[in-house]
């Protein structure tokens, strides 16, 4: 299965992945319209410290603690992709408590949000990967 892999050796800390993520999940067709004058809330986040940086997004674990812990059944794994049914989610944050990588965050709409590999938006393949200028984030079969 294709997975997101991050190589911090090549991460520039440019944060473009965050912006492409926020745009891809905005439902809007223009980046300016989607992101102008807002504080973005992307599903992928850059960590940076002392010249080291890397992007962190859902690992889509084979044994997902978030899915097992979800009290509503809103988080499910299908074909290796963990996605959230925000209609069911009540925002209890048990998934935030459970995710060992800190990849689930509150969404602006009250439920939680996480990387769904852009399967639900118009992108088709992960926008962060397409937007990374240095192949620090790859979506590949290994």
């Amino acid at each position: 299965m294709k997975r997101i892999y991050v190589n911090e050796k090549w991460c520039l800390g440019c944060h473009l992945c965050e912006y492409y993520c926020a745009f891809a999940n905005s439902g809007k067709n223009d980046m300016v319209k989607a992101l102008k004058n807002i504080t973005i809330n992307p599903r992928i986040r850059i960590e940076e410290h002392n010249n080291v940086s890397f992007a962190v997004s859902c690992r889509h674990c084979e044994e997902p603690l978030c899915v097992k812990s979800c009290i509503t059944g809103a988080l499910t794994i299908k074909d290796g992709v963990i996605s959230v049914n925000s209609d069911k989610c009540v925002g209890c944050y048990t998934c935030i408590l459970s995710c060992p990588y800190g990849c689930i965050s509150p969404s602006d709409q009250g439920a939680i949000q996480k990387c769904e590999l852009c399967v639900k938006n118009a992108g088709g393949s992960p926008a962060c990967v397409k937007g990374c200028p240095n192949k620090a984030i790859e979506w590949v079969e290994r």
Partner: protein, 409 residues
């Protein structure tokens, strides 16, 4: 293989999903005294709050039983486990045979003896969907609600109905709220926040006597109310296993494969005891994630697969009126407290490991802390000062990140 599951909540569903990971064909029967499709019990407060509805409360989709090839006998009560005949006896139905049995009977609300309780007309517990519906029918915008118990259930109930009643007063014998998951600072912080939302507390006190719509407390304080909710605690449903001769302490005794002391009988969820890795003690960890994972472990083992349930610990993610709280583990160790603005954080360490934490307000990425506890990560192997500041993968070594993020094997 013929699997029978008593119960229809998280542990039972976990068991079904566990069995089906290994055995696609075996016959599975779920027997539950509740007549509902599997639903998530912790959601009943959200139901009253209007954040969910009965349809969305379903823990799994409508087609779940069909998809997993499960026979669901709902609204049917199990009266006895017959270990000789390897069957469970039912109320008003023929016994059902099992090769492997899961007891996932959960817990029930505990109602302590209180003088004059029988004079109270509208009194409720708050555990099940039917409890929530009954409470909903009983309240209106003029209701004065008295809740006995300032624990998770009592307070979630309070939040759930706060906008729909005239007033809520919470009484608890303890001197602070949520004592099982918070420290004193945390309790005070959360109490303040809940009070700011209009709920009153009377702590270190308890009801001496009820007389219809009046409760007289031990301190002499008198509270007039229209609706009473009793949320002082729960008791595990251990009777079936106890009667069949299985070991029961406070909860049903299980091992790390979720087996009871009875042959071919497993148990999972709120009715069981499991090993808390943060204290090394067997205790009831009545939490939905634990129930699911116990159930899954049991299911896999029942079907002949391999899985251990050996990473249990107390953990809670809960929120009141927009203030989020995440806690895990135990707090008996060296504490580091970080307080900023409206956020509070306490990390508790012992023997070079994190054993517990409390986060109130900013709970972002709490799971990174949980994982430190779960994996008993030696703190000397990470940059603890960095991770203390906020949960981050930066605190781990490059090599570890290459594994978790980069796919290095």
């Amino acid at each position: 293989m013929n699997y029978v599951i008593i119960g229809n909540s998280a542990a039972a569903i976990g068991c079904v999903e566990g069995i089906r990971q290994v055995d696609k064909k075996g016959k599975i029967t779920i027997i539950s005294d509740e007549p509902h499709h599997t639903y998530s019990r912790p959601l009943i407060s959200y139901l009253l709050l209007g954040k969910t509805d009965e349809e969305r409360m379903k823990y799994r989709s409508d087609s779940f039983y069909e998809d997993k090839n499960v026979t669901a006998m709902l609204g049917v009560t199990v009266t006895k486990i017959d270990t000789d005949k390897r069957c469970v006896e039912l109320e008003g139905e023929k016994p059902v045979k099992y090769d492997r049995l899961l007891v996932a009977t959960g817990s029930r609300a505990f109602i302590p003896p209180m003088e004059g309780l029988d004079t109270v007309d509208k009194k409720f517990t708050f555990m099940k969907l039917d409890d929530a519906k009954a409470l909903e029918d009983a309240i209106n915008e003029n209701s004065r609600v008295l809740i006995i118990g300032a624990g998770l259930i009592g307070l979630k109930c309070a939040e759930g109905i706060n906008d729909r009643v005239q007033s809520i007063e919470v009484v608890d014998l303890a001197d602070r709220i949520l004592p099982s998951i918070l420290d004193e600072t945390g309790s005070a912080m959360v109490q303040k926040h809940i009070e700011d939302n209009g709920i009153k507390f009377t702590l270190s006190d308890s009801v001496a006597q009820f007389d219809k719509n009046t409760a007289t407390l031990k301190s002499g304080k008198v509270i007039e109310f229209d609706v009473l909710v009793i949320a002082v605690g729960v008791r595990p449903n251990t009777q079936l296993v106890a009667q069949a001769g299985g070991a029961v302490n406070r909860g049903i005794v299980t091992d790390d494969r979720c087996r009871t002391t009875l042959k071919n009988i497993y148990s999972a969820g709120d009715c069981t005891e499991s090993l808390d890795i943060t204290t090394g003690q067997e205790r009831i960890l009545a939490l939905l994630p634990n129930a699911y994972m116990q159930g899954e472990t049991a299911g896999i083992d029942m079907a002949g697969g391999q899985k251990l349930y050996d990473k249990a610990m107390p953990m809670n993610a809960i929120g009141f009126f927009g203030l989020h709280i995440i806690t895990a583990g135990s707090y008996n160790g060296e504490a580091a407290v970080i307080q900023s603005g409206n956020s509070y954080k306490k990390l508790v360490t012992a023997d070079d490991t994190l054993i517990g934490y409390i986060m109130i307000g900013d709970v972002a990425r709490a799971g990174i802390y949980t994982a430190l506890i779960r994996e008993k990560k030696p703190l000397s192997s990470i940059d603890f000062d960095l991770i203390k500041e906020k949960p981050q993968l930066m605190a781990f070594s490059k090599r570890e990140r290459a594994k978790t993020l980069g796919g290095l094997r």
